[in-house]
C-alpha cells in the first residue's frame, strides 16, 4: 500500500500533459481577476459581497454557535441583562422617582427602551471592535472586509428577537393579566421598519468606527464612556415626553431619540414623534454614505495596518 502511494506522486515529466493542454486551451481571454492598487473613492462592491454571502452566513453562524456553547444558560443571558436593568430602574425611577409615563407601566417603558438601546449601543461597540477581533482572518484570507461588522450585526438581530419574545410575554401579562393601559394594534406593523432603520443606523455608525478603530485604537477606549453618556441623553430609562415642549426639537436632534421612541410607538402604542424619526432617517442615510466611503477607502490597507 505504501509503495503504491509513494508512486502516486513520483510523477513522470509529461504526466498530466493532456489535462494541462485542455486546461490551457480553456483559459479565458480576459483575466478573471486583476489585482492592483485601487485607491478610488467608491461605495461598497455589492457584487463582491454577494459572491461571499456564504462566508457571511458562516461568520454569523460561528458567532452564534460559540456564544450559545460557552454559556450554560445560553439564550437566557441575552435577555437577563435588559431584564435586570429594567428591574433596577423600575425600582429607582419608576417607584421612587415616579417618572411620569403617560399611563403606560414604567417597567414596559424601561424594558423597551433598554432592549432598543442595547441593540444599538452593543451593536455600535461590537462593530467597531470587530475588525481588530478578526485580525487573524483579515491577514490570511481575502473577502470583502465589511462582512465582519455585518455578520456581527446579524448576531445582534437574533438577540433582539429573543428580547422581543420576552417582551411579548410581558405585554400579554400586563394587558390581559393586569389590565394595563396599553394600545397594541396597527402600530405594530411599523416594527419591521423601525428595526430596519435601527439596524442600518447601528451598522453604518459601527462600520465607520470599525474603519477608524483599525488605525486609531483610541476609539475602542473612548467609546464605552461616550456610549454611557449618550444613554442618558437618550430616552432609554425615561420616555421622551418628560422633556419640556420647548426643548423637544433640540432633544430630538439626537438620532437615537427617534429610534427608541419609534420602538415604543410601535410596541406600546405611545404615538410617534415624526420630527425625531425624520432626523433618525436622514442621519442614517448620511451615515451609510459616509461609512461606505471611509470604509472602502481604508479597507485595502487593513491587512497592513491591523
Amino acid at each position: 500500500m505504501s509503495a503504491a502511494t509513494t508512486n502516486d506522486y513520483a510523477l513522470q515529466p509529461d504526466e498530466g500533459a493532456g489535462v494541462v493542454a485542455s486546461v490551457a486551451s480553456a483559459l479565458p481571454d480576459e483575466p478573471l481577476t486583476t489585482i492592483q492598487s485601487t485607491n478610488s473613492w467608491g461605495l461598497f462592491d455589492f457584487q463582491e459581497i454577494w459572491a461571499h454571502r456564504e462566508l457571511l452566513y458562516f461568520l454569523t453562524w460561528r458567532d452564534l454557535k460559540v456564544r450559545y456553547k460557552q454559556t450554560l444558560l445560553g439564550v437566557l443571558w441575552i435577555v437577563m441583562q435588559p431584564l435586570l436593568m429594567t428591574l433596577i430602574f423600575t425600582v429607582v425611577l419608576g417607584k421612587l422617582a415616579r417618572v411620569p409615563t403617560g399611563g403606560v407601566p414604567y417597567a414596559l417603558i424601561a424594558f423597551v427602551g433598554l432592549i432598543a438601546w442595547m441593540f444599538i449601543s452593543n451593536g455600535i461597540f461590537g462593530c467597531s471592535t470587530s475588525m481588530v477581533a478578526n485580525a487573524n482572518l483579515i491577514t490570511k484570507i481575502y473577502f470583502p472586509r465589511v462582512l465582519v461588522p455585518v455578520s456581527f450585526i446579524g448576531t445582534r438581530i437574533l438577540d433582539l428577537f429573543m428580547s422581543l419574545i420576552i417582551l411579548a410575554v410581558f405585554l400579554l401579562i400586563y394587558r390581559f393579566g393586569l389590565h394595563a393601559h396599553i394600545q397594541i394594534g396597527w402600530s405594530l406593523a411599523g416594527l419591521p421598519l423601525i428595526i430596519l432603520l435601527a439596524t442600518l443606523f447601528t451598522l453604518s455608525l459601527g462600520i465607520l468606527l470599525a474603519a477608524l478603530n483599525v488605525k486609531y485604537r483610541d476609539i475602542s477606549m473612548a467609546l464605552p464612556v461616550l456610549i454611557q453618556l449618550w444613554m442618558f441623553l437618550s430616552p432609554v430609562v425615561y420616555p421622551a415626553s418628560i422633556i419640556p415642549p420647548q426643548w423637544q426639537r433640540l432633544y430630538s436632534l439626537n438620532p437615537v431619540v427617534g429610534l427608541i421612541e419609534g420602538f415604543r410607538g410601535t410596541l406600546l402604542g405611545t404615538g410617534f414623534n415624526k420630527f425625531a424619526i425624520a432626523v433618525s432617517t436622514v442621519t442614517t442615510l448620511v451615515l451609510i454614505f459616509v461609512a461606505a466611503i471611509v470604509f472602502n477607502r481604508v479597507e485595502k490597507k487593513f491587512a497592513d495596518v491591523i
Binding site: 506522486y9 504526466e15 490551457a24 453562524w61 484570507i141 481575502y142 486609531y216
Partner: protein
C-alpha cells in the same frame, strides 16, 4: 502556451513607523497641528522619506503556465510572504498588477477561522467557507475530508480537546480538498507526522495531474525540487533567479553568504592559542559556493578549513575537529593522524617552520542529514597534547537539495547522519 498568472512589475511599499502603522489619535492630531502641510508635501515627493519606507517587493514580473507547480524560495525577509499576500489578495500591491486567468484559492495558513469551541464537524464547514468553498461543495466532500484527516471518532468533539496533531490533520484535510484552478500555498507541508505528510504530498501530485496550477512558498528544498517545475528566488524584494528548481536552489545556497560560516581573528595577540600556536580562522566551504558559507547542500562535500599560525619553529602540530549537531549530539571526532584519515597528511607530526598553515578536513557529501551542525576546532602537538580547543565556534546548516528524495518525499527529521549505504536484494527461493 498562454500563462494563467501574469505578474507585471509588482512592487509593495511599507511605511515604517509613520502613517500606515496603528497609531494613536493623539499623535495624528499633534502632527497635523505641528506640520499641516507635511502630508501634502510627502505626496508631492512621491516616495516619501526613504528612512521610513521599505520596499518589500520591487520590479516583480513573472508568468506561471497552467498546470505548473511554481515554487517561491528566499530567506526570511526576502519578500516571499508579501508576494503571497498580494497574490492571495489579502493586501494590495503599491504599483503594478497581476492578472489571474482562473479561479484562485489561497492557503496562507492551515486552519484559518478554526474556532476551539466548535466541533470538528462545525469547523470543517466554517473553514471550508473561509477558504471559499460553497456549502454544497463541502457537504459533498465531507466524508472524504474526515477520512483524510482520520478523525472520524472525534467528529463531534470541540476541537479544543483535540491533540495538536489531530487539529493540524483536520485543518489540512479541509485545505487539501480545496480545488481552485490556481492554488496559492504558504509553507504548510511541514505539518503532522511523516505518514500524514506523505498523504499531503500525494494530494499535491493529484492537483498537478488534474491540471491545477499551484504557487507554493517553502523552506523545504526537497519539496520544491520534486514537486515544482519552476522556481523563483527572491532576495531583498527582488527576483534573483527564475528557472529549473535545482539551479535556483544552487543559486540560493551560493547567495547564502552568512558570517556564521566563518570566524576570523584579525589580531593574532588575542586569537585563541598560546605562545606556540594561535588560530587565525575557521571556515566552512563548499564547491560551487564562493567564500565561506553557513549554508551547504546535502549532496556535496563540506570543507572545514582551519588556519593557524605557528609561532615556534620546529614544533610538530596536529589538527582536528569535533562535529556536533545543533542540539549538541556528538556526531564525530576526527584528526589528521594517518590512522584517522583517508590519505596521509604530509604535515602531520612534522616539525613546522614558523608561518601560517591551512588544514582542510573534507566531510563527504550525502553523509550528514539536513539540519544544523557545529564545528569545534582543535590544534595540538599531538592527539594527546591539545593546545587549542575552541568549542562549537562555527556552525552551518545542511540543506536538503532533493538528491535523496526521488522516491521518498516525507520528513528525514530524526537521524543525525543520512549516508548512502550499499543495498542488495536477491531472489533466493521461489
Amino acid at each position: 502556451m498562454k500563462p494563467i498568472v501574469k505578474v507585471h512589475n509588482v512592487a509593495k511599499r511599507y511605511r515604517i513607523g509613520s502613517a500606515e502603522t496603528a497609531s494613536d489619535l493623539r499623535e495624528t492630531i499633534y502632527k497635523a497641528f505641528r506640520a499641516p502641510f507635511r502630508r501634502y508635501k510627502k505626496n508631492l515627493n512621491g516616495d516619501g522619506d526613504a528612512a521610513t519606507t521599505l520596499w518589500a517587493l520591487k520590479d516583480i514580473s513573472f508568468e506561471v503556465q497552467p498546470g505548473e507547480i511554481f515554487g517561491i524560495i528566499g530567506r526570511n525577509g526576502a519578500g516571499k510572504s508579501t508576494l503571497l499576500k498580494i497574490l492571495s489578495r489579502v493586501t494590495q500591491p503599491t504599483t503594478g498588477h497581476i492578472e489571474l486567468f482562473g479561479r484562485m484559492g489561497s492557503l496562507l495558513e492551515v486552519g484559518t477561522g478554526f474556532h476551539p469551541e466548535l466541533t470538528g464537524r462545525e469547523n470543517v464547514f466554517l473553514n471550508g467557507a473561509v477558504l471559499g468553498m460553497a456549502r454544497a461543495e463541502i457537504r459533498r466532500k465531507f466524508d472524504e475530508i474526515i477520512a483524510f484527516a482520520e478523525i472520524e471518532r472525534f467528529l463531534d468533539t470541540p476541537v479544543k480537546h483535540y491533540s495538536s496533531g489531530m487539529y493540524m490533520r483536520l485543518a489540512f484535510a479541509v485545505a487539501a480538498f480545496l480545488e481552485p484552478e490556481i492554488l496559492v500555498v504558504d509553507e504548510v507541508l511541514a505539518v503532522g507526522d511523516v505518514e500524514f505528510q506523505q498523504k499531503c504530498l500525494g494530494k499535491m501530485g493529484d492537483l498537478r495531474r488534474h491540471g491545477r496550477t499551484v504557487l507554493i512558498v517553502s523552506h523545504n528544498m526537497a519539496s520544491i525540487v520534486n514537486l515544482c517545475q519552476r522556481a523563483l528566488l527572491l532576495e531583498r524584494g527582488k527576483i534573483i533567479a527564475d528557472g529549473v528548481p535545482a539551479d535556483v536552489i544552487q543559486k540560493y545556497l551560493s547567495q547564502a553568504k552568512s558570517v556564521l560560516g566563518q570566524i576570523v581573528w584579525p589580531d593574532l595577540e588575542t586569537a585563541p592559542g598560546n605562545d606556540d600556536v594561535r588560530l587565525r580562522s575557521v571556515s566552512i566551504l563548499q564547491e560551487g559556493i564562493v567564500g565561506p558559507t553557513a549554508d551547504v547542500g546535502i549532496s556535496k562535500e563540506v570543507l572545514v578549513e582551519i588556519v593557524y599560525e605557528n609561532l615556534k619553529a620546529g614544533a610538530p602540530l596536529y589538527s582536528g575537529i569535533w562535529l556536533k549537531t545543533g542540539s549538541g549530539t556528538f556526531v564525530l571526532s576526527s584528526g589528521n593522524a594517518p590512522s584517522m584519515s583517508l590519505a596521509v597528511d604530509p604535515w602531520y607530526a612534522q616539525p613546522h617552520p614558523r608561518g601560517t598553515f591551512r588544514s582542510v578536513c573534507r566531510i563527504p557529501g550525502n553523509f550528514l542529514n539536513e539540519g544544523s551542525y557545529s564545528i569545534t576546532a582543535i590544534v595540538g602537538k599531538s592527539p594527546q597534547n591539545t593546545q587549542i580547543l575552541e568549542e562549537s565556534i562555527v556552525s552551518f546548516q545542511v540543506h536538503d537539495t532533493g538528491e535523496m528524495r526521488k522516491e521518498y518525499l516525507g520528513s528525514w527529521a530524526g537521524p543525525v547522519v543520512r549516508p548512502r549505504l550499499a543495498w542488495n536484494t536477491r531472489h533466493i527461493e521461489s
